[in-house]
Amino acid sequence: MSKNSKRKASLYGTATVATLALGLTACGGGSGGSGASSGTWDKSATVNIGSLYEPQNLDNTAGGGQGVTEALNGNVYEGLFKLTDDGKVDDLLAEDHEVSKDGLTYTFTLRDGVKFHSGKELTSADVKYSLEKVLADDSQSARKSNLEVVKDIATPDAKTVEVTLSKKSISFVYNLSYVWIINSEAKNLKTTEDGTGPYKLAKWTRGSALSLDRFAGYWGDAAANKKVVYHYYKDATALNNALLTNAVDVVTSEQSPDALEQFKSNRNYKVNDGDSTTKLLLAFNDKAKPFTDVKVRRAVSAAIDDKKLLDSVWGGYGKLIGSMVPPTDPWYEDLTDVNAYDVTKAKKLLSEAGYAKGFSFTLDTPNYDPHPTAATFIKSQLAQVGITVKINTITPDEWYTKVYKNRDFTATLQEHVNDRDLVWYGNPDFYWGYDDKQVTRWVEQAEEASTTDEQTDLLKKVNRRTAEDAASDWLYLYPQIVVASSKLSGYPLNGLNSQFYAYDIKKKG
């Protein structure tokens, strides 16, 4: 029971941070898939997918949560662009696009023969409508703030969309990969859909399942299976049992490391170890003493043995990261050596900062896994350098109000799920209060860069600077573990918490 209630809290927390914190819907995987096995497969198969992330509603601009992205993104709704597994952006509904010399006007040409599930043909008016829906006042899209550079949307003809930006934004096309193109005449989007994807919604039973049927009028290659059903569970054990009894064929994101052994040792299953973008952070309030002092932050970072923590929480899975950047972001660099575990160095830094006898601080700890475990671990590690940690356990709701909104904290633990979220260190108003004028400038320049190389170079600088400043302590990167029946192939591996392209999944009869 306690495990179950923890799971509930965890789901809520994940969803909260997913939508609120980073302004980027977690994502990034492609349809790459597990080593597509040869041989025949059943083209009329039903694929049963088990998940812990049930949609709140079916509208991703109205608080649908990460569950709606997982089920509908790419499957039911498509964007102008699609993000591939290695973080590249591919054309999807946009056949082609041009950028004006000043980098402010984007002209998109739409693909021919695209139909919505209702039968209506896709036109530029639908694209304009969909973009405006994300930007609307009542939109809760996590992407809204990134797209606010949009100044004007014109539709010179049915096939062409012209978007003018108020300033250059190198991430614009990448951000568009998160914007669903929706029929402008569709109604009741919280409970129904009208997209252009390879599947149409068959039935959504709240609290239980959501099923998708192959769409006969799809413009591209038809889905490799006839039907997919997302089955929703609140409890990781119940979900694993469903996999063991073949009630589901695949689990989108395994959250229970203890359960992995039973699948690893069984030939009927495959355990896939992918890269996630979810980072566990010990976030300092960089505006609150003593964490205003970079030496204190570095000392704390060096005093915690991240490897040991990761091993105790996830066994052999997951990765150490030395910064906010996961390997799937284009500006990744291995910075684990910066502020690596070194107790002697930590003690030296502390005495330099005037805390030779240590100090004590309160750690606001969300009440769901893995935060309480990590907090206890941190407490014992920091005790060795004379720092006393007072653990204050709070609910996700309290975290949101106390820490995120009111900044009323000294240090906190939190998971940050999104890709490309390093840029938040450029915003001195973000909850952790990191304020470095140079970093802010680099982040701005990166967004206004003319080439992605230029952007990448600048963000690498940001990466290194924030790591050296120990702006936060990045404890570890979560693993992304997809466990599937060995009859299955073609499922996404790095589906990164919030999406799960199902159309390439092949099931042997």
Partner: protein
């Protein structure tokens, strides 16, 4: 009896009204703002205000309350803040799982516990009488989620006879599948409920066995079965029925644990999700319907007791059981 029914009905309505006030107010006292669930972080104060306005949580509490009552009066449980789906159909969909689950478990528990409890009392001096009461004692001590997990491990994971959890997406449209998915949860609840019922039946029977009237009946020449049938069972069943009412009501409300172990989309899981999201209409709807059910069960138990025991008919009605 007619006046009693009227009084009892009035009592039911008053209780329901009081309960609705209490749950409405308590819900508002919980920390947290439903607008949090409806806005993304970085939402401006205007956006948060707009969200509050759209769900009506910016209106004064008395106004919200009367609005809700007005909806209730017309049989409408409102609309979920989060999903925008009407609460009424959602609650009834969940009842399609929770009610069969609870009733089947209840019937199974009664069918097993009544004879077992009787035997445990009547044969208390034999080894199997002692064994039966020992087992029931053990059954009371077992946590329901643990029992559920054991049954899953044995009958679903190892034997593969039954599903480990879940409910067909089409519900009762596929009756065989629906029944299959309810077997293990029903057995889980029935075992735990049955164990405590055995204890009650046993002690009620013991009271009767030691009673003067039974001894008198036997002394006047009635056989034991006849004396038991004419006098004993009737007397033993009065306390048992009130326990049954309480058990049924608490199972209905306590099904949330079993529902989560078996991943059933029942009323309990709807309530849990609703609370986590501050989805007031959902929480209010679920609690209101459960309150109604509990009151009705209490009413029914009372009525049955009065039919069985004429002495109770003279008692002032309306009081708590």
């Amino acid at each position: 009896m007619g006046r009693y029914l009227l009084r009892r009905l009035a009592f039911l309505l008053v209780s329901l009204a009081l309960a609705s006030v209490v749950l409405f107010v308590l819900l508002r006292l919980l920390p947290g703002d439903p607008a949090n669930a409806l806005t993304s972080v970085g939402a401006s104060p205007e956006q948060i205000a707009a969200a509050r306005h759209s769900i009506g949580s910016d209106r004064p509490l008395p106004e919200q309350f009367t609005h809700w009552l007005g909806q209730l009066a017309s049989g409408d449980l409102g609309t979920s803040f989060v999903s925008s789906l009407p609460v009424g159909p959602e609650v009834s969909a969940r009842l399609n799982v929770t009610v069969p689950l609870t009733l089947a478990a209840f019937v199974l528990a009664v069918v097993v516990a009544v004879p077992v409890g009787f035997v445990a009392a009547y044969k208390r001096r034999t080894w199997y009488g002692a064994l039966l009461s020992g087992i029931s004692q053990l059954g009371i001590a077992v946590p329901v989620f643990w029992l559920g997990m054991i049954l899953i491990a044995v009958f679903a994971l190892n034997a593969g006879w039954l599903p480990s959890g879940g409910f067909p997406q089409d519900g009762w449209a596929a009756p065989a599948d629906a029944i299959r998915s309810l077997v293990l949860p029903v057995v889980t609840i029935a075992l735990v409920m049955g164990a405590s019922l055995i204890r009650y039946v046993r002690s009620a029977t013991l009271d009767v066995l030691g009673s003067d009237y039974l001894r008198t009946a036997r002394a006047l020449g009635a056989s034991f079965p006849r004396a038991m049938w004419r006098h004993g069972l009737r007397n033993a069943s009065v306390p048992v029925i009130s326990v049954l009412g309480i058990e049924l009501a608490s199972t209905l409300l306590g099904a949330v644990v079993v529902e989560s172990v078996f991943a059933l989309p029942g009323l309990g899981s709807l309530l849990a999700t609703g609370i986590a999201q501050h989805d007031y209409p959902v929480v209010q709807g679920v609690l209101f319907v459960s309150t109604l059910a509990v009151l009705l069960i209490g009413f029914a138990a009372d009525l049955v007791q009065r039919i069985i025991d004429p002495r109770l008919r003279g008692r002032l009605s309306g009081g708590a059981r």
